[in-house]
Amino acid sequence: MTQTLTTGPRRRSAPTRRRLLALGGAVVLLLLVVAASLALGARDIPLGTVLDALTARVPGDNDHNVVLDQRLPRTVVGLLVGCALGLAGTVMQGVTRNPLADPGLLGINAGASLAVVLSITVLGITSPAGYVWFAFAGAAAAMVVVYGIGSMGRSGTTPVKLALVGTALTAGITSVLTLLLLGSTTATNTYRFWAVGSLAGRGSGTGADVLVTLLPFLAVGAVLALLSGRALNLLSMGEDLARGLGLDVRRSRILAVLAAVLLAGGATALAGPVVFVGLVVPHIVRPLTGPDYRWVLAFAAVVGPALLLTADVIGRLVARPGELEVGLVVALVGAPMMIAIVRRARLAGL
């Protein structure tokens, strides 16, 4: 049924080789960032010690404890969240044909936040494994609302409209959240640390349970996202053309949106609302890959975590011995990038 459009000998073309090289470079970069994330922080630990800790842990060694109990879980969470957000952003930009789609910008994170706070304050659910489901439900509901409303009308989805709907939804949800939080000091206290978006302490202790609970969802989401490349390529040519080329438009859309919800909801449940990663990653990647979504997705899965972990390491280094939360660093880095995109792009016609 699926015929490859290219015929002839299956030889890797020059662009493909270049892309593979670039992808290899990105993976090396990611490994460097991971090493930095394990070694740097309030106290710098030499890479040799990090390796020792990973291979032969000496119980009671302070450095080994720091690496294995704090930095390793945090790095793993960073890898997962970064990968999820990068993929989710790419998929959403493809599905909405909107270069400014991002789980945070479109209010998906806010939907997840509201659902989590509701489950904590109203239903009294305290175990992360319990409210994870609400994060998914909230993310899905927000996605449906924003995308549904944003695509109504003759003009369909414009970047401006989607961004405004997402921001307005975030603003509305924020005031409802405030009402819920004003009633309870403990909820305020829990929520404010969650809401800023951070990797610290998210993968250890009770966080480890969340990690384990979420892993299958993130995995399914990632697989769905990576497989959606061809469909996104076809969708980018317009709905009619995609249908003419034999794509089941509705089914591919639903699958892609499902992937985005799983990834964005999971990432939000894990690290709190982190904006801009999903927005920026595809734009960093496209100059290397061209418009082919199969490549963009593969790169996004590598560049996303590299970006998030870099931001996390920066956050640890600039405010020693304290740290800046990764959500804040990403916002400070991502906003200028978004502004650059807006200033450069001819978005009005989209």
């Binding site: 009308g153 939804l169 509305g172 000091t185």
Partner: protein, 350 residues
């Protein structure tokens, strides 16, 4: 439509139409003024003895004993007056934003201008430990600085609506990140104060506060009237407006500056009351027959919205002082969904 009517009856028809429109406008404004007065009266007398209010008002006119000095004169009347002024200022500001940016969804509270006020106020409350008027000054500065930054960043041979909107959205998220940072670094008790401020509440103003805002509005009023005529020309498109002798870029800058001043002023006294700027002008436009810029009625609608929300907030939960912004936020979010679902037929984005 296709039949050409003889000139005299045509003029007759035109005149009747114009008459009908003018009558409708006058009617709408009268009803709105009546609504403001009725709501104001209700706010004064609800939960007290009607006699007190009458006594006090009679005392003002010099024909009574002037009873109820404390409850009415010190507590309720300034509150009502501030609610009216804040509503009017935000209504006008929203109307200006929406017509300058050519987008029914744009408003200062969504585009990070009010967020700038919040960030500055949060810094003043949490970082510097300020209270009262100093917080208001900080909020005013915050709103102005963020608005100026958005304008400058959106500038590239002039400012187009979509660029301003999208960069405003980016600013809103950066500002949110900053607020999150401040909230995680402060004492929980202070955080509550900051949250209440940031959601917007009329509180218990003194007459001095009311007077300052009233004077500011009076000073700005002639400029608003002046610019509203040019905004109407701008609504025909930049080129048509230029043809009519409007200096497009200057008008846009002046109008936005006025709107920012109004927002910043209102926010300084009541906090960023969510969605008032967002909903007022579209409601006014819907009530009136002609469309276009409707700053006067928008101001009245704004006053009605804030007064009504304040009434609901005060009497909804008797034991809890609900900030007015929570009511407007929740109502505004619902209104947003409805607005988007219905107005799309005459879509005017980007």
């Amino acid at each position: 439509m296709t039949t050409t009517a003889p000139p005299a009856p045509a003029r007759e028809v035109l005149r009747t139409v114009r008459h009908a429109r003018r009558r409708r406008t006058v009617l709408v404004c009268t009803v709105l003024v009546a609504a403001v007065l009725a709501l104001a009266w209700l706010s004064l007398v609800w939960g007290g003895r009607t006699g007190d209010t009458l006594d006090y008002l009679a005392g003002l006119l010099g024909t009574g004993e002037g009873g109820g000095e404390f409850t009415i004169g010190r507590l309720r009347l300034p509150r009502v007056a501030l609610a009216v002024l804040v509503g009017a200022a935000l209504g006008i500001a929203g109307g200006i934003f929406q017509s300058v940016l050519g987008n029914p969804l744009a408003s200062p509270d969504i585009l990070g201008v009010s967020g700038g006020a919040s960030l500055a106020a949060a810094f003043a409350i949490l970082g510097l430990g300020l209270t009262g008027a100093a917080v208001g000054v900080a909020a005013f500065l915050g709103a102005t600085v963020v608005a100026a930054a958005i304008y400058l960043l959106a500038w590239r041979d002039g400012v187009t609506g979509f660029r301003f909107v999208l960069i405003g959205v980016a600013a809103a998220f950066v500002v949110n990140g900053g607020i999150g940072y401040l909230l995680t670094r402060a004492e929980v008790s202070d955080v509550r104060a900051a949250l209440v401020w940031m959601v917007g509440s009329i509180g218990t103003p003194r007459w001095g506060d009311v007077a300052v805002l009233a004077v500011a509005l009076l000073v700005l009023a002639p400029f608003v009237v002046g610019v509203s005529w040019q905004l109407r020309a701008l609504g025909l498109g930049d080129e048509a407006a230029a043809g009519l002798g409007v200096r497009v870029e200057r008008t846009r800058l002046l109008a936005l500056a006025l709107a920012v001043a109004l927002t910043a002023g209102a926010t300084a006294f009541a906090g960023p009351v969510a969605f008032v700027a967002f909903v007022s002008a579209p409601i006014a436009r819907r009530l009136l027959p002609t469309g276009g810029t409707v700053l006067g009625p928008a101001a009245l609608v704004g006053a009605v919205v804030v007064l009504a929300a304040e009434l609901v907030a005060t009497h909804l939960v008797p034991s809890l002082e609900v900030p007015v912004g929570i009511v407007t936020g929740a109502v505004g979010a619902a209104y947003l969904l409805w607005l988007l679902a219905t107005t799309d037929r005459r879509e005017a984005t980007s």
